[in-house]
């Protein structure tokens, strides 16, 4: 991991010093978050993300995402991936490096492109607070059907970190990196009309080292975009996790099963405004049911270069008192922004 970090830093500095026409696209995304929960106000959620993207030859691309929280922790390499998208036969593509595998929908979406500020709590519980990413390989195959069908299979050095999760009123706990894991996602996409589209995917995950852990995800995304001022999308993911640990003398210990999910609806209007709702649920978060409902609003006066967001969320965890949370976010971005993938 340290090597990738050094490499990424080296690449970034050599890139910044080079004055050629083959510079990669560089963008910087800054974030400032304010958090009000119970009666505590916290304004420390500042972070920046540095993105380098470019083609290394006509068939391969490199994408590097570096992340820095303003809290004394070192720079994190979120992703550093070499992708071969058009160089391989039979509709195959390959990605290698530190990557977020195609596993469910939200795992590959950058959080700042979603309207609800924070990661849904059940996603943090099942995929990790930073979602799932590790060093490894992913191959994907565009099936020879008339409409879009894709199968991705990934092998990663580290599976999803086991974690005790933190809600607004509990402390963060440490986590450890488990051994290798594999995942797969089958997805299909349809045009319902020229302005409405739907994508659905089925994913599975299995830890290869250590306890037997399986995760299954069903994801659906629907989008309607009648013109450049309005759009509506609806995104839902349902998770199921089961597993057991091998104890001494061939004994097995079953892990508690978890069923979880979230549902996100966002409506964009007058181009610069958006509003929507998010609901999430976990059947077993640290031994108790968790659920929350949130409403959000966003304002982006000049595309994605400046965004203000506000989220009001009511969460209920087991027998604890339900809690109101208010989150605000200011987001800015410098540099070229790419078109949005569905």
């Amino acid at each position: 991991m340290r090597i990738i970090y050094m490499l990424a830093l080296f690449i970034s500095f050599s890139v910044l010093n080079a004055q050629t026409t083959v510079n990669p696209d560089i963008s910087v995304i800054g974030q400032l978050e304010g958090n009000y929960a119970g009666d505590a106000l916290d304004l420390n959620g500042a972070s920046v993300e540095l993105v380098f993207q470019g083609y290394v030859n006509p068939f391969a691309r490199v994408d590097v995402f570096l992340h820095k929280h303003m809290d004394g922790l070192p720079i994190e390499v979120e992703e550093a991936v070499l992708s071969i998208e058009r160089g391989l036969p039979f509709g195959l593509a390959l990605r290698a490096g530190k990557l977020r595998p195609d596993f469910g929908k939200i795992n590959v979406q950058h959080l700042h492109t979603l309207p609800q500020i924070a990661l849904p709590v059940p996603v943090g519980q099942l995929l990790g607070e930073e979602k799932w990413g590790a060093s490894g390989l992913e191959s994907s195959w565009l099936l020879p059907f008339p409409w879009y069908n894709n199968l991705s299979v990934a092998y990663l050095q580290n599976g999803i970190s086991e974690h005790h999760h933190h809600t607004a009123n509990s402390e963060e706990s440490e986590e450890e990196s488990p051994g290798a894991a594999i995942s797969a996602r089958y997805s299909t996409f349809f045009d319902l009309s020229s302005i409405t589209h739907i994508e659905t995917g089925l994913s599975t995950y299995r830890l290869l080292d250590g306890p037997d852990v399986n995760i299954f995800i069903l994801d659906v995304k629907y989008k309607w975009r009648p013109d450049k001022y309005r759009s509506l999308f609806w995104q839902t993911e349902l998770f199921h996790r089961n597993g057991y640990s091998h104890l001494d003398e061939g004994l097995l210990e079953e892990h508690p099963q978890i069923n979880a999910g979230y549902m996100l609806v966002n409506y964009q209007f007058k181009k610069v405004w958006n509003t929507g709702a998010i609901a999430d649920y976990s059947s077993n978060l640290d031994g108790a049911v968790y659920q929350s409902v949130g409403l959000f609003v966003g304002f982006s006066p000049a595309e994605e270069t400046t965004v203000f967001r506000l989220l009001i969320k009511q969460e209920q965890h087991g027998e604890e008192d339900s809690q109101l949370q208010i989150q605000t976010q200011l987001l800015w971005s410098l540099g070229p922004h790419k078109a949005h993938q569905f």
């Binding site: 068939f59 036969p89 509709g91 879009y148 020229s194 270069t305 078109a339 993938q341 569905f342």
Partner: protein, 293 residues
Amino acid sequence: MISRILLIMLLAVSTQAKVNIVASLTDLADIARQVGGKHVSVVSIARGSQDPHYVEVLPSSMMKVKRADMYLMVGMELDQWAEQIIDGSRNRQLRIVDCSSDIERVNVPTRKVDASMGDIHPNGNPHYWLDPENGKVIARTIASNLKVVDPRHTEEYDNNLKVFIDSIDELEAHWAMTYSSLNGKSVIYYHDTWPYFNRYFGLTATAFIEPKPGIMPTPTHLDHLIHIINDQHIKVIAMEPYFSQQAPAFLSGKTGATIVHMAQSVGAEENTETYQKMLTYNLEVLMKALNSQ
């Protein structure tokens, strides 16, 4: 025996097979259709009524490109979204043609550009297909690439190209007679889509409803526009079909200027289903509005 059958089948398939072309915009698609004739099958990614600056990267678009032999890009950073679609297609045989390669560019920034200038086009204004002379350049670029991909029909592509260029020549003569009164007229446009069109037909863009490219109009800017329209006696506010009516309607209400819906691309409005008709349509609506007062 089997290999002979296969060979015959292969020949049969290849003699029938059309060159599959995908174009970013309907304008490039229509010119390709005219130049390629019966030997090509063409689709476009963006609809004529859609804003070409913001097109979503859809998996279904990738599937169109997956089966294509050739991709026609506008270039000059207008259709950067096409790169992601092409990548996602996994098509390694695809011939990517940048139709701007032989275009003489206008409005190339002479100093460093940044976002304070709005969503400016850093390599010059990319709406070059709206000058009929550039239509000819695009047709030549497409023909020369078609001849490489499908050399057996070289003669037909040359013929079709000649027919296309002749049709533009004829129209140019007709336009020069019919729409000569447009020369020297001033128009307020919504977005800076028309510098090539204006240059050819002698029009002037006095101001834009967008205060800066890609930026929504502000009340101060609209105020400023009211003064310009009144002081300079501007009669026409022209807008592309994908913009909101709100600001043009406000300005028209305050000043009496006429709103004109222009077609920035083939298929953007009725009677614009070919490249030639689209250009004639725009001249016609402008003339009507300018003469009505």
